[in-house]
């Protein structure tokens, strides 16, 4: 049996109240900190993953610039649903060759977004390693992709969604829809 990811909370989600996202990010940073090497590059996946990555980047006092990925050009459902109407540029202001990457997303569900992100990273260069940090691992994986770090692991029925939203003042909120 594989070892569980480093995670603070586990359980089965019974109701719509979710922990405070801002507190979860601090807990996530605490879990990541001992494993983070100084040359690790943090890369957030648009849009929610970038918000989480920005916070982690500050909390972990990372000296490297922050990278962002928009995986719209790598989605496996492109031919079914088309191009996302608001694609943002990916921005990786560093050389990835032989570097350790910490890939950050808000919610891990099927794993397809992470697969697309890894494909995109490899089109830039060949990193030495990629580890995955997510705020919430909600189950429902469809690919052999598991987080290395997760602040919250819960099981959510397939027909429901966990969304991260950001207010104008930067406050992050998790909601179950």
């Amino acid at each position: 049996m594989p070892s569980p990811p480093n995670s603070y909370c586990k359980g089965f989600l019974m109701h719509a109240s979710l922990p405070d996202a801002n507190t979860l990010i601090v807990q996530l940073a605490d879990v990541i900190a001992p494993a983070l090497t100084p040359d690790t590059l943090i890369v957030g996946i648009h849009t929610g993953g970038v918000w989480v990555a920005e916070r982690l980047h500050a909390l972990l006092q990372c000296s490297q610039p922050l990278g962002t990925l928009d995986i719209s050009f790598y989605r496996d459902d492109f031919s079914r649903i088309g191009l996302h109407p608001q694609v943002k540029p990916s921005n990786l202001p560093f050389d990835l060759e032989d570097r350790a990457i910490l890939l950050v997303d808000d919610v891990l569900h099927s794993g397809r977004t992470v697969r697309a992100a890894m494909n995109e990273l490899f089109d830039y260069d060949r990193p030495a390693s990629i580890r995955l940090a997510v705020l919430v691992d909600r189950g429902g994986h469809e690919l052999p992709i598991r987080p290395d770090f997760a602040a919250l692991s819960i099981t959510v029925p397939d027909h429901r969604n966990i969304n991260l939203s950001r207010l104008d003042d930067g406050h992050l909120t998790l909601t179950l829809a």
């Binding site: 031919s79 088309g82 191009l83 694609v87 990916s90 830039y124």
Partner: protein, 317 residues
């Protein structure tokens, strides 16, 4: 209903910028922005159009447009087939559709059409099966929408906004499909003042109805401009009675450093190419610090990638 849009309002074909909603134009420009860095990666491709077949139907000679469409399609990981189809004045509509039917039977997903006849791309778009998209890469005097879009992308990159600009289009507007596409895009994007400058014989009658101000004098027309777009003077026009000589044309309507100095000091100079140096533009201007003619070519790849990606992603290609 706009034949370019699907029932849910997404881009289905790209045939003309006339009547294309502002939101779609803006989406194309935004998407192109995201494609800009693909050319600088280790792997200069994204896998969006993997397994799709795009046919470049070149009925009229073209170097730049055909090449940038080909590069754009390849950077989207599509398979590209270029067909240079020699045409004669005898070519009938049936012959074109036979060609299209044969290529459709080879499982084409998209046609990029360049043709000397106005309306050729529309004609093909009306004929193809629902899963096939058509891009107009220039049809007669009618439209050259991707050129118009890459010009808008260039203006936005250098000027940031459209709502405060004065843009002049100079030269042979009468025969220019590029000018028509530019005028439609500029007015749709909210440019408050679009000017056309040229001799009476090279401006279409009633061009004012497209929402432009008409000037027959370069000095007056260039004053205060933020963007100066020069059009190619096609040499074959000299044979008619429209112009006395290319030297005479250059004297009155060629863009020289002295004339450019009448525009705003930070004005940019654009040209869709190929240029006639010493006819519509002086080399000092074409190669000068205000020229953005070569960036236009580079941006053309990202803009064509955006158009093809949006078309292929309508859910049916």
């Amino acid at each position: 209903m706009n034949p370019q849009l699907s029932q849910d309002g997404r881009l289905r074909h790209l045939l003309t910028l006339d009547g294309l909603p502002r939101a779609i134009i803006t989406q194309i420009l935004d998407t192109a922005e995201s494609f800009m860095d693909v050319g600088e990666r280790e792997v200069k491709k994204v896998p969006l159009l993997r397994g799709k077949s795009i046919f470049n139907l070149v009925f009229e000679p073209s170097t730049r447009t055909r090449t940038t469409f080909e590069i754009a399609a390849k950077r989207l990981a599509a398979d590209v087939v270029n067909l240079n189809i020699a045409t004669s004045s005898q070519t009938k509509g049936e012959a074109i559709l036979d060609t299209v039917d044969n290529l459709s039977a080879m499982h084409a997903d998209m046609f990029v059409v360049r043709h000397a006849q106005s309306g050729a791309a529309h004609f093909i778009a009306q004929h193809v099966a629902p899963h096939i998209s058509v891009v107009n890469a220039g049809d007669g005097r009618h439209a050259h929408p991707t050129q118009g879009l890459l010009d808008m992308f260039t203006i936005r990159r250098f000027k940031g906004e459209f709502h405060n600009l004065t843009v002049a289009i100079v030269g042979d507007v009468l025969h220019s499909r590029v000018a028509r596409s530019q005028i439609h895009a500029l007015t749709t994007l909210g440019v408050p003042e679009v000017r056309v400058i040229g001799p009476k014989t090279l401006l279409p009658t009633g061009v004012e109805q497209m929402g432009v101000r008409v000037f027959h004098d370069m000095e007056a027309g260039l004053a205060g401009c933020d963007v100066v777009i020069m059009l190619r003077l096609q040499n074959e026009r000299m044979k008619g009675a429209r112009l006395p000589s290319s030297q005479e044309y250059f004297k009155f309507f060629g863009l020289t450093p002295e004339k450019l100095a009448l525009a705003r000091p930070d004005a940019i100079v654009m040209h869709p190419g190929p240029m006639n140096r010493g006819v519509e533009i002086a080399s000092e201007v074409a190669d000068g610090p205000q020229s953005v003619i070569l960036p236009q070519v580079t941006y053309g790849i990202a803009v064509r990638m955006a158009v093809m990606a949006m078309l292929a992603g309508t859910g049916n290609a």
